[in-house]
Amino acid sequence: MNETQPALTSQERDELRRQGVLLTSLEELYNWGRSHSVWPLNFGLACCAIEMIAASMAKFDIARFGSEVFRPSPRQADLLIVSGTVTKKMAPHVVRLWNQMPEPKYCIAMGACAISGGPFKQGYNVLKGIDRFIPVDIYIPGCPPRPEALLHGLVQLQEKIRGQALTGPEAPRHLRSDDACDCPVPELGAHDIEPSHAPGVWSSPSLVRPDKG
């Protein structure tokens, strides 16, 4: 079968589904299965962690989306929810936890602090976004985001997982042999945290002047 041109159009597949014939590919089946059993790491950092707990409780019930199994060990988790302020003392531990999680793994930056440092950005001890060290899949703004926002972020993540190709250039990083999965663990240096960011993950935004194109 030619990969670029599916044998059936989506209308034809819908028609077949109405008649009780289910056609799928291994890729779709695999992604469908794992997108509905994303196990988060039981890891709270600050205020957002309380809303994360609230999302897993009766009223919001994260179990409806298959993510109620909060694992205390990173070895058993698929999803790292960075729920709160990451300080320079905590950053090495967060990156180490991320490195200890097995692939395929995903990261949600929950709240303003995890995204950019939030209200504490001006301070001397707060990281200006966890995406400088680990690759973030979903950003959830808010201070703290409501539990509904976390659930929405989770649904977005599920959509992302369902759309992932398993082969070809779009394959996720754990299926590409040339990509290193581990992120460098930062250390507290003489003046600041070193390195200031992980080179493969983040680069400082470059200024583009309109007159120079």
Binding site: A46, I53, M57, A58, G84, K89, M90, F120, G123, R146
Partner: protein, 401 residues
């Protein structure tokens, strides 16, 4: 570093598991009597499900018994006090929400009292009653959640915490409809409150108060007389009254040790002197007493809420002459404190006459209460250390600031 000279001290038997920078002083605790086995040094946290946030306890174990314990802080140090020096007086109000993020209303109130003392502002009577209503709702919220988390630490996974969070959502709905935010309310202002509660909101509070008593009955039926919980918590983590007073412990933890010190009675701030309530005091100072004191305080809070709702006068909730933006109090210093759900929460402000405080200092109750952790845990098992920590009721946003 544990010991430089292995032959000199019994701690030579310690097997190092984590980095050697634990920094125990070998002489601080006598070696366990008759212990023949190796001591084991382990690090609980900062990523641990039962340390209530990013808190770390370095413990030395003899078998399962804790023989030394050293807390490690600072994993959530967000330079709160330094930011306060660069922010205007009003601009610090939302930051106080993020200190003890379960109880933003009481943090707001303590900070507002400090600024009101500094600037010499008065508060309308209606605002004082609204503040009492919100503070007591916050107390209900905090103590309910604490009981849920404590039971989670004891090992009853899920049910009590689910019940607690169901009630928390009801209170948060009230906070949200009043202030616009669930957790970070940013509601109190210097000289009053930001918005006037509507009659519909007050009716909703009255409805919640009416159903909270039956909820507590249900909760207590599940937990208070439960044999397993009594076996796990009674006689565990006993805090003597003398030590509690010497260490500056405040709040329900101090009262569980038998000292009837409550700032609502001692200081009589707000309209508390006009309201009728009792201060529950414990006998043994153990984990069970700390749980019971909080449950009894919730009963008193329900009664306080009923009285405050009944006595709520009309009028403005904010002194119109009180300046919010660009407030420049004359040079001086002030300390404002209230009885928060975790203990005495205080703000110490020094003004040099400019728009920003010269010094902004927070007296966090759970940080001070945490200082007695090692004394409480010595001689107990690791599993007990976890529930002792849970009964202290810490929030890391406040401990590390």
């Amino acid at each position: 570093m544990f010991d430089a000279n292995p032959a000199a001290s019994p701690s030579a038997r310690v097997r190092k598991v984590e980095p050697s920078s634990f920094g125990f002083q070998p002489s601080s605790v006598p070696p366990p009597a008759g212990g023949g086995g190796d001591l084991l040094e382990i690090s609980l946290g900062p990523h641990h499900p039962s340390t209530h946030g990013v808190f770390r306890m370095n413990v030395v174990l003899d078998g399962e018994t804790v023989v030394r314990l050293k807390p490690v802080f600072g994993y959530l140090h967000r330079n709160h006090e330094k930011l306060g020096e660069g922010t205007s007086y009003l601009g610090s109000m939302p930051y106080t929400d993020r200190l003890d993020y379960l109880n933003s209303m009481t943090n707001n109130w303590a900070y507002a009292i400090a600024v009101e003392k500094l600037a010499g502002l008065t508060v309308p009577e209606r605002a004082e009653y609204v503040r009492v209503i919100l503070a007591e709702l916050t107390r209900l919220l905090n103590h309910t959640c604490l009981a849920g988390f404590l039971m989670q630490d004891c090992g009853c996974s899920g049910t009590p915490l689910m019940y607690a969070f169901r009630e928390r959502e009801r209170i948060l709905d009230l906070f949200e409809s009043l202030s616009g935010s669930r957790m970070m309310c940013n509601y109190q202002r210097f000289g009053g409150c930001r918005v006037d509660p509507t009659p519909a909101w007050l009716a909703a509070v009255a409805q919640l108060v009416d159903r909270y008593g039956p909820f507590l009955d249900e909760f207590e039926e599940l937990l208070t007389g439960n044999e397993i919980i009594m076996a796990r918590t009674q006689g565990v983590g006993r805090l003597p009254a003398a030590l509690a007073v010497n260490a500056g412990v405040t709040g329900p933890m101090l009262r569980a040790s038998g000292v009837g010190h409550d700032l609502r009675k001692v200081d009589g701030y707000g309209v508390y002197p006009r309201l009728n309530f009792r201060v529950p005091v414990g006998d043994h100072g153990d984990v069970y007493d700390r749980y019971m004191v909080r449950v009894l305080e919730m009963r008193e809070s329900i009664s306080l809420l009923r009285q405050a709702l009944a006595a709520l006068p009309g009028g403005p909730v904010l002194d119109p002459k009180a300046k919010q933006r660009g407030l420049r109090p004359k040079a001086g210093e002030a300390y404002g404190r209230i009885e928060g759900p975790k203990g005495e929460i205080g703000f110490y402000l020094v003004s040099d006459g400019t728009a920003n405080p010269y010094r902004y200092r927070v007296r966090p109750p759970s940080f001070v209460n945490l200082t007695v952790l090692e004394d409480l845990c010595l001689g107990h098992t690791v599993a007990d250390a976890v529930i002792i920590l849970g009964s202290i009721d810490i929030v890391l946003g406040e401990v590390d600031r």
